[in-house]
């Protein structure tokens, strides 16, 4: 461990020490991030890495004593899993302490995909911020744009004036995005567990949904379509038929998944009882989404703290019973069906009207006006170069993304650029469950456990 001051200047000759660009940092001394041997770490860190979450009574602790915690270090081995491992969903690196094939401790080491997106967010205006947000959780970009837009609108004080059509369109896209994200989970979960053909099927169905997104937004991913004030454009002609075609195609395919996976004894053997987490542990670890619901708690922000028009549609919150990897798989499969149910209601209820707020402060003029009006041209130019000013204040808004609660905390100083943009990424928090779910399991099950969390590393590292 070296502090900033102690490090010799020769360490990094490109940094000119005479003009310190980095004023801060000397107050801390950073330790290693890796999993260290038991003799080198504190009791608290050891407990943490072995997955202890709650304070237990002595009898409850004795019941858990099937996995020894006072093992001889000669009998254990610390290995790396990742960052380059096909089942780590990108660049998640886990360090595991093994005794034979049993996992005793686990430590997720993240940051390999860190690109400073929260810092970037402080340089992009509220108009441009969506392009940054959409790239965090790249499997549910529309939900990320949505939470950013909702937070910005709340700061602007226009959150009650968003036209109904825009709100229903946002819901339509959000639910379709949930379906595409869960379909990709089906694919990767299948692949991680050896059902390789499932990867092709899941990917194929997801591509159908993305094709619809491409038609609506112009892009398969990273749309920047949901913007403060509404959405970027109206739905294209024939959108209803496209959605209906999706809804007609999917039930049959989902039934095929059930045959391929749910009904298979091998599939059940690999998932049932693996990576178990209890409800109190999930709450203590602030796990949200399918992980929390797999423990039997019906907590879904769409139902419990409704946003958009979710209180006007009927759907069920799918919960599990055992908190294991199988429940999390089944919840996501059934959530696809629930999303389809919501989408059908949206098709019936989609109102006509504006797709964005008619507030000149945040809304650029229609394209046609620019050719004929100098004022419209200036307005368009100003809004896309300078952006719009947002009143000073701070706000936290959260919605239910496919992975759990995605939150957006924005501090505005009254300018057109956020002073601070923080994203509460569900995967970042959910990954903390790994040491707990892994404890006492087999190495082979580690893959199933990672997969059942469904982490997106773009959002873990941001």
């Amino acid at each position: 461990m070296t502090t900033l001051d102690e490090r010799p200047a020769a360490d990094n000759p490109t940094v000119e020490r005479s003009t310190p660009l980095v004023s801060a940092g000397a107050i801390t001394s950073e330790g290693g991030q890796e999993l260290r041997s038991r003799s080198e770490i504190s009791q608290k860190a050891l407990m943490r890495e072995s997955g202890s979450v709650l304070r237990l009574s002595e009898s409850a602790a004795a019941a858990l004593a099937d996995v020894a915690n006072d093992v001889d270090e000669d009998q254990t081995m610390i290995i790396n899993m990742g960052p380059q491992h096909p089942s780590t969903h990108g660049v998640l690196r886990l360090m595991l302490e093994l005794q034979g094939e049993t996992v005793l401790r686990c430590k997720p080491i993240i940051g390999y995909l860190h690109t400073g997106m929260e810092k970037t967010g402080e340089t992009l205006s509220f108009m441009q911020g969506g392009t940054n947000m959409t790239r965090m959780d790249y499997l549910s970009p529309l939900n990320n744009e949505l939470v950013f837009s909702l937070a910005t609108e709340k700061l602007l004080g226009i959150d009650g004036d968003i036209p109904e059509r825009a709100q229903w369109m946002r819901m339509l896209l959000s639910e379709l995005n949930r379906m595409s994200s869960h379909l990709l989970f089906m694919a990767t979960n299948g692949m991680d567990l050896g059902a390789v053909s499932m990867m092709l099927y899941g990917w194929r169905e997801r591509e159908q949904v993305l094709r619809f997104f491409q038609k609506v937004t112009g892009l398969r991913m990273n749309h920047n379509f949901i913007r403060p004030g509404g959405v970027a454009a109206d739905l294209p002609a024939g959108w209803r038929d496209d959605v209906l075609a999706l809804l007609d195609m999917l039930p049959e395919r989902l039934a095929e998944y059930e045959v391929l996976m749910t009904g298979q004894p091998i599939w059940r053997e690999r998932l049932q009882g693996v990576g178990v987490i209890t409800q109190s542990e999930a709450i203590a670890l602030a796990a949200t989404g399918p992980i929390l619901r797999s423990t039997g708690l019906a907590w879904d922000l769409r139902k419990d703290l409704p946003y958009l028009m979710y209180d006007e549609v009927e759907f069920d919150v799918v919960v599990g019973l055992h908190g294991d990897a199988y429940d999390r798989y089944a919840i996501r499969l059934y959530e696809i069906r629930e999303s389809m149910r919501i989408v059908r209601q949206i098709l019936d209820k989609m109102p006509s009207g504006n797709f964005r707020i008619q507030n000149k402060k945040v809304t650029p003029p229609p394209r046609g006006r620019i050719d004929e009006s100098m004022e419209a041209l200036i307005h368009h130019f100003k809004i896309f170069t300078e952006g719009f000013k947002v009143p000073a204040g701070e706000v936290y808004v959260s919605i239910e993304s496919p992975r759990g609660e995605v939150g957006c905390y924005i501090v505005s100083d009254g300018s057109s650029v956020p002073y601070r943009l923080h994203v509460r990424a569900p995967s970042f928090v959910n990954v903390q469950c790994l040491p707990h779910m892994m404890r006492g399991g087999l190495v082979a099950d580690a893959v199933a456990v990672i997969s059942s969390i469904d982490p997106v590393l773009g959002e873990v590292d941001r």
Binding site: T2, L4, A10, N12, P13, T14, V15, L21, V22, S23, A24, G25, I27, T28, E30, G31, G32, Q33, I41, S42, K44, A45, M47, R48, V53, L54, G111, H114, G116, E118, K119, T123, K154, L155, I283, A284, A286, T288, L297, D304, A392, G393, E394, V395, Y396, E405, G407, Y409, V411, D413, Y419, R420, H422, R424, F428, V429, V431, Q432, D461, R462
Partner: protein
């Protein structure tokens, strides 16, 4: 349970504020842990988020009367599942000050406090494993500080033979 009951237990050092319809508690650092413990007892059992803001470039910000502005602010978002309510706790701390860790009350803050430490250089006392989480472990500086400029930081090559 109302907010007045929440603050009644530790009345001094807590200022209740409304920010765009969201309940915010400005809490003095000395009663930070006590307030979070009380809120836990009141049902706010889930620590959804913990982050920080560096107010270096925004000295004249609006704060309720009685709250002394400091450079950093720790922002904790708590959630009550039973009451379907959120509360936000904001604590002012000066540069170089450390915060007590919430790990013993909310184990979920482990990664979040490490992130704040990594990005802002705010240390948390009593955290089991306070190391950098997103940046490499031998990185210089804390990127989300406002005096950590973008675009002018030389690329740091670590461990390469010169």
């Amino acid at each position: 349970m109302t907010s007045t009951e929440v603050t009644g237990a530790v009345s001094s050092g807590v200022t209740v504020h409304d920010s765009l319809g969201q309940r915010v508690l400005f809490v003095d650092k000395s009663v930070y842990v006590a307030t979070i413990t009380n809120l836990y007892a009141d049902g706010f059992t889930m620590c959804i988020d913990l982050t920080a803001v560096d107010y270096l470039a925004l000295e004249n910000r609006l704060l309720p009367a009685g709250v002394v502005a400091q450079r950093f602010e720790i922002v904790v978002n708590l959630l009550s599942l039973a009451q379907r309510k959120r509360v936000r706790v904001r604590v002012q701390i000066a540069d170089g000050e450390s915060m007590p860790s919430l790990f013993d009350i909310h184990p979920s803050t482990e990664a979040m406090e490490r992130e704040v430490f990594d990005m802002f250089g705010v240390a948390f006392d009593g955290h089991p494993d306070l190391t950098r989480i997103l940046m490499p472990e031998d990185w210089d500086g804390h990127p989300l500080r406002k005096d950590y400029s973008t675009g002018r930081i030389p690329v740091q090559f670590k461990g390469a033979a010169s």
